[in-house]
Symmetry: C2
Subunit: 293 residues, 2 copies
């Protein structure tokens, strides 16, 4: 290809990206609070916390949406009982699937032909996908949009932080182990470097109470989270205990706070929703832009 043509194609791609960004910004302006949920480390229950915080907020009368930005390991649809369904496009744009509890869900998983399909994508493809997705989704006016980020501080978090310049804040999910502490600190660094305000930490899998003998076990340790708070000064918003019924509720596709509202974990999650709503109400709406790393 001549370098003339090459340059023309590059320019076209850039223009398209700009248009999509503009479109995404317009669509997102209908949403009052936009939060990212991240962790640095995988498997700490980030999607579980995102889904249940969303369901808890919805149960309190808010309009809530969840964007599943984990294209390699999407798990949000399953948690809302909509795994296997497909989003379709109406005249207004791509329509989120309404999950159990009334939460609007958008995920790459709702666009794949079957559950075996893996998106073996490198960074630029993922960036393009998320940008295109945000430019297309017709969320309708929402009080809260929660963005469930994949683990790490790579392409997807960077893309989201750049596309959603008026992020209301971030919630960092952790577990009490010391190993997690080190990696979660990196997520906190990420928020600071990108100027995203950190609402606080959710300490997931904090303990397990044996249902037979009542003994409380700190299965994943205890020291990590308190050290994290000491070292970073970030507050803990909630401690969520392990409950074997959590797995069951995920399998049944019903958010745990709706399936077992009286459990210790659910009470903590509902309390978390109140705290998040209060903090955001009290903080000034962001006008500034996040840094353009």
């Amino acid at each position: 290809m001549s370098s003339e043509k090459e340059r023309e194609l590059k320019l076209q791609a850039l223009r398209k990206a700009r248009e999509q960004e503009e479109q995404a910004r317009k669509r997102l302006s209908q949403i009052k609070y936009k939060l990212i949920v991240l962790s640095g480390k995988g498997g700490v229950g980030k999607s579980f916390i995102t889904a249940n915080l969303a369901a808890a907020l919805a149960s309190k009368g808010f309009e809530v949406g969840v964007l599943d930005a984990d294209v390699h390991g999407p798990s949000i649809p399953k948690m809302f009982g909509v795994h296997g369904q497909a989003m379709y496009a109406g005249p207004a744009g791509l329509l989120p699937i309404v999950g159990v509890g009334g939460v609007r869900v958008v995920s790459a998983d709702l666009m794949l032909p079957d559950e075996e399909t893996a998106l073996i994508w490198r960074g630029p493809l993922k960036t393009g996908f998320i940008r295109e997705l945000l430019s297309m989704v017709a969320w309708s006016p929402l009080d809260f949009l929660l963005v469930d980020l994949p683990p790490g501080t790579g392409d997807e978090p960077l893309t989201i932080a750049q596309l959603i310049k008026d992020l209301s804040g971030a919630i960092v999910v952790t577990t009490p182990s010391d190993l997690t502490r080190i990696i979660v600190k990196k997520a906190i660094t990420f928020c600071k470097q990108l100027n995203v305000s950190l609402l606080g930490i959710v300490n997931n899998m904090s303990h397990f109470t044996c249902p037979v003998c009542g003994t409380r076990h700190y299965i994943f340790g205890q020291a990590g989270t308190s050290r994290l708070v000491e070292e970073t000064g970030v507050r803990v918003l909630a401690d969520i205990p392990i409950d074997p019924r959590i797995n069951e509720s995920v399998e049944n596709g019903v958010p745990f706070v709706l399936a077992y509202p009286e459990s210790e974990a659910s009470r903590s999650l509902l309390d978390l929703a109140d705290k998040v709503a209060e903090i955001l109400k009290a903080s000034p709406r962001p006008k500034g832009e996040t840094s353009s790393l």
Copy 2:
């Protein structure tokens, strides 16, 4: 910049990449068996399994190395008690740090100034980093190299599969929950698409036995792994139970199989090492190349 110059720079970069690949291949030819450990999903204990499989193999007299390819969330150094140390270069190349149990460890974490530093890198940077790392490390002759991959099916797994064309096989780590099953299936798809032979599944966090009353709890469910086996036909190599002392051993930087060799989890891990060594001994050494996706 003139397009002439641009082209020259691109060519230079390509030549450098080729040279590094060649160098990496030479260095890796000193290693008998090269295994990747992956999961698709984060937090299933992939690094824990990798580290303890390595320590178990080393305890049986093998020469073992671990490459921590999770640049965003490196946890291998901590598990071998070498977190905070720095690799340095000798005349032969970059020297791995020898961890507890005699395992040679290479990780991005052993090159960072402090534990807060996050590598906020996009894909191409990560690919370049791993390629350069593999071209520089002087492993010395090894029986086993275990590569601990980050979650997902993105840049790092692709890069490793392309750089190490004579991979001996892959181990997929999972937990018993149904949510994990779906995401781990994607890792299995990844192996199939890249022609990497799958040795089997390790079912981590299979259950928890209350040390007070002796009751066995299936904290993360039970159905996922058996469904995974049914659906994919891949065998389970080991079931590893939860043990609160695992977290303690990670904090102390001593692989669990060495700290508590008599525990149920350690016995399963030592047995896993025997199985892996047997399977590899029985299988023909790979000569073919993995596909060039």
